[in-house]
């Protein structure tokens, strides 16, 4: 294990359950570097739901709640309200966050509560064996869409910004340097910060959706089918690749714990 892993991993929870080449391990790798850079180990609460990516915080030796499927966000909101001065980060998959947890994430965005939500998007429900998810592309093959997905996927960026999130960044696990920086900025941002991490799942999505069995080839697909959007640049309609970068940020919206604190100081 590398030096930071020795320092931050919860040794008794090892070995890592992730498949060979799974993007979740890279997210773990980047996140540990981010919290080391910020120095927030004892001021940090991590919350996750159920799924492969929800195992990421279990391996980190800080205060962690591994809770119910889809309910990481409301639990994180309660945790934040008890100690608004501490940092709360949610790890959730695409199904956990926008399937069963869909209602909670949009309301958290509406409140603009100061938590960070890291959504690891592998376009499938991996842990249960590869069923279609709210982000699975149209016509994609999965265990519950063997004849092709008849549903359109969510446009997560529009949903989150429409609901009121004030920070949205998207990176892939093929960009570990930028991803780590995005984690740092998201945690520091005051308001609902949402980081979408496009993550390869060689075992399920790779096989059925992308037709790529090799972890290396799947990672290359992620690298080649995305591009880094320059700050302030207008979206190019002819661009077929997926844009990455800090796609949305606002600093002027009132944040929920601040709004609550203001009321607490008013004696009625």
């Amino acid at each position: 294990m590398n030096n930071l892993a020795q320092k931050y991993l919860r040794q008794e929870a090892l070995p890592l359950i992730f498949c060979p080449g799974c993007g979740d391990g890279i997210v773990l790798n980047c996140f540990i570097r981010a919290i080391d850079a910020l120095g927030i180990r004892d001021d940090l609460g991590l919350v996750s739901g159920i799924g492969c990516s929800s195992w990421i915080p279990v391996y980190i030796d800080v205060d962690v709640v591994h809770c119910l499927h889809g309910r990481a966000v409301p639990l994180a909101e309660g945790l934040k309200m008890a100690r608004p001065d501490k940092h709360v980060v949610v790890f959730s998959g695409d199904g956990d966050c926008f399937g069963i947890g869909g209602n909670h994430i949009i309301h958290a965005a509406r409140r603009n509560i100061d938590i960070t939500v890291i959504m690891i998007n592998n376009y499938i429900y991996g842990m249960t064996g590869g069923q279609r998810a709210p982000t699975t592309p149209f016509e994609a093959i999965t265990k519950t869409s063997p004849l092709g997905n008849d549903e359109r996927p969510f446009d997560i960026l529009s949903m989150m910004t429409g609901a009121g999130a004030t920070y949205y960044a998207r990176w892939t696990t093929a960009h570990p340097v930028q991803l780590e920086k995005a984690f740092e900025c998201a945690i520091t941002h005051k308001g609902l910060s949402f980081v979408e991490v496009m993550s390869p799942c060689p075992t399920q999505a790779g096989r059925t959706i992308f037709g790529i069995r090799s972890a290396v080839e799947l990672m290359a697909w992620y690298k080649n089918n995305t591009y880094i959007m320059r700050k302030g640049a207008a979206p190019d309609p002819s661009e077929k690749r997926i844009p990455l970068g800090l796609l949305y940020q606002r600093e002027d919206e009132i944040e929920y714990t601040k709004a609550v604190a203001q009321k607490r100081s008013v004696r009625i």
Partner: protein, 377 residues
């Protein structure tokens, strides 16, 4: 236990729901998350202002699923927390209650019962959630459920609920109903209340290890313990153990035994005229008010009747029930459901002895109905 002085004490006229809210504040509850539902909304409405004045937080969540999870999260952040709901919302909270059991998170849930099943009778009272409060979530577990019958008890039992939750690290349900919730009565808010003081030991890495009293010590976030809270069956370090049958079995036994073996401390009943009673009425909640009238009337007419009022419906006070009912000739169990608690009484004293007296449709038993049954017997 430590003492807390209540600034705002004395004699008051309170609504039942208000009394629950005041009880929570008296018990140092600092976080409330709820969703509007008749007939529990007054609790949310009261606390939406009072919480701020007490230095706590109030959140109206988007649904009951979020409410139960938010209060679990707040508890791990160190704030005593509570939610309030009724039957349909209570059904939604069951998964969260199961999570609180396995993660041993102390939370309080007020369930102001209304007519069921399903949307049922939103504005009528019932006692429909007795079995749901015990068996609502999947898996084997035990928890504590208190049943107030007066507005005073709504206050007192809510305070006790917080103490029991902290002491046994378990979710505690306070089962009121639309009658107790909406009625207004005189309440004496005491000058002092006793609050359970959690012991916090240095228990690095083994924070789920039970103490000699079978209960794990207090632990919360942001104190360097680096806790792992999980809903999967786990060992004392919080590490999942679902693949190890012995550890998993031990975990389930632990959730059940820590309540069962402390029944004598947890269980509470009130006796009225039980000496030499030939006919015993077993009742709880609003129905016990009518039952008491009926028993008084019976005694006035020379019938040897008595009332065993159940304060903690779960765990069921088996010893008290057996002690009161075995010497009796007949046991009458009036309930505003088809006989959910009567099953428990039948289990303990025998079906031949027990007479069910259900009242459905949202109608509280008139004392004369119970009196007539007593006389018939």
């Amino acid at each position: 236990m430590k003492e807390k002085i209540l600034q705002d004490h004395g004699v008051k006229i309170l609504q039942g729901n208000e009394a629950c809210a005041l009880g929570a504040l008296a018990a140092d509850c600092l976080f409330f998350a709820g969703y509007p539902i008749t007939p529990a909304s007054e609790i949310s409405e009261y606390l939406s202002k009072a919480m701020y004045l007490h230095g706590g937080s109030f959140m109206q969540m988007e649904d009951e699923l979020a409410s139960i999870c938010a209060i679990i999260g707040a508890r791990w952040g160190g704030a005593r927390s509570m939610t309030a709901t009724s039957g349909p919302g209570f059904s939604l909270m069951q998964e969260g209650i199961g999570y609180a059991v396995v993660s041993e998170t102390p939370i309080v849930i007020i369930d102001v019962q209304r007519g069921g099943p399903s949307t049922g009778q939103p504005t009528a009272a019932s006692q429909h959630d007795i079995l749901q409060s015990r068996f609502g979530s999947h898996g084997d577990y035990e928890l504590i459920a208190l049943c107030p019958s007066t507005v005073q008890e709504a206050f007192d039992f809510t305070v006790r609920a917080f103490n029991l939750a902290d002491q046994y690290r378990v979710p505690v349900i306070v089962l009121t109903d639309e009658i107790v919730g909406h009625m207004r009565e005189k309440v004496v808010v005491p000058e002092k209340v006793e609050l359970f003081e959690e012991h916090c030991v240095d228990c690095h890495r083994r924070y789920y290890q039970p103490d000699v009293d079978q209960i794990p010590p207090r632990i919360q976030f942001y104190q360097g313990h680096h806790v792992l809270v999980d809903g999967q069956l786990h060992d004392e370090r919080g590490i999942r153990a679902g693949h190890i049958p012995t550890v998993s079995a031990a975990a389930v036994n632990h959730y059940c035994n820590k309540i069962r073996s402390n029944c004598s401390d947890i269980c509470s009943t009130s006796n009225y005229f039980l000496d030499g009673a030939e006919v015993v009425v077993v009742a709880y909640g609003s129905v016990s008010r009518s039952a008491l009238s009926a028993v008084r009337q019976a005694r006035d007419q020379g019938i040897n009747a008595g009332l065993l009022k159940i304060n903690t419906v779960w765990p069921s006070p088996e010893e008290d029930i057996v002690a009161a009912c075995l010497p009796a000739r007949k046991v009458i169990v009036p309930e505003m459901n088809v006989g959910q608690y009567a099953r428990e009484i039948e289990r303990l004293v025998g079906r031949d002895k027990v007479l069910r007296l259900p009242s459905l449709g949202g109608e509280l038993h008139h004392p004369s109905v119970i009196f007539r049954k007593i006389s018939e017997v």
